[in-house]
Symmetry: C2
Subunit: 150 residues, 2 copies
DNA sequence: GCAAAAAGTTAGCTTCGGCTAATAATCATC
DNA sequence: GATGATTATTAGCCGAAGCTAACTTTTTGC
């Protein structure tokens, strides 16, 4: 092996390792916003159904306890996604509404895609919930196209 | 609306809410094992490549710092997935090897599926990394079948 | 309009998974 | 085989997201 070849293969490997690391870093980033996205999406649904989003309903729908909801709502308010008054229901800010809309859009595309693959609705809903946060724009476009033509 | 209809729709709604909550609970459960799975899968690769898995290599490949790796390895050892000796490389237990094999299998199916959908390799690898932890057995089977016939 | 039930909050605990700074051990090179 | 570089560990910090227990506020039903 010449020095040049050696250098090339080393560099190629380094690039591969770095790109892999970036993939993991990307996944970790996505993970950080998952909970916020799930909450905002659910809050939007509740507001649509009931005109308001009560913590107790968020808790039962998310399968967590009321204090957990309270703490998470605190973070959402801090991040400018919801408005909050003590002992009252929560509502979405403009930013929150935008995020909710985007999430709902992704969710629907992923769900429709899984259904059009032939998955049962129950499992499709479950898997969509987990997958939707980890699908790039490109993949989402392919999913949408697939559902369309099938 | 009769009382019966009222009751039925209430019960149906309750079931839907509960099933939704279960989906979220499932996603949270999956989330808890994600990191362990990523590490074990990577450790298996490193052992395959180099005969051992050094913390420093795990760190660069995962895109985290050495102390983060050390702490996570502590958890993996506690959970019986790896063996560890101070200042030495880590190795997989029988259980760890089994998990790694399973993860690699899932990863490959998801990756091949995304590629056969027409996604570019870079994005496919990135998305597979995030998606693989949230795909049920059923969906995995559908993914595999799709790649096969295309 | 009051009492009980329901809902919301606060305090305080846990685990996980990141980080930096400091220390310790191993490895490589002369 | 000493020494400098690399690697590994430890200590200690942080924030997120879960929980229970205790308390306050609001809602409801008589």
């Amino acid at each position: 092996m010449t020095d040049d070849e050696n250098l090339d293969s080393t560099e190629a490997e380094a690039r591969a390792v770095e790109s892999r690391a970036e993939a993991f870093i990307g996944v970790r980033e996505a993970r950080r916003s998952e909970v916020a996205e799930d909450y905002v999406e659910l809050i939007a649904e509740l507001i649509h159904e009931n005109g308001e989003a009560r913590p107790v309903d968020i808790a039962t729908r998310m399968g967590v306890t009321a204090p957990t909801v309270a703490k998470t709502l605190g973070r959402l308010a801090r991040d400018g996604l919801i408005t909050r008054a003590k002992y009252r229901s929560v509502f979405l800010t403009e930013e929150g509404r935008a995020l909710a809309k985007e999430c709902r859009h992704r969710h629907e595309i992923v769900l429709r895609f899984l259904l059009s693959l032939g998955l049962d609705p129950e499992t499709a809903e479950r898997d969509a919930e987990g997958i939707e946060h980890h699908v790039s724009e490109r993949t989402l476009a392919l999913f949408a196209a697939f559902s369309q033509r099938s």
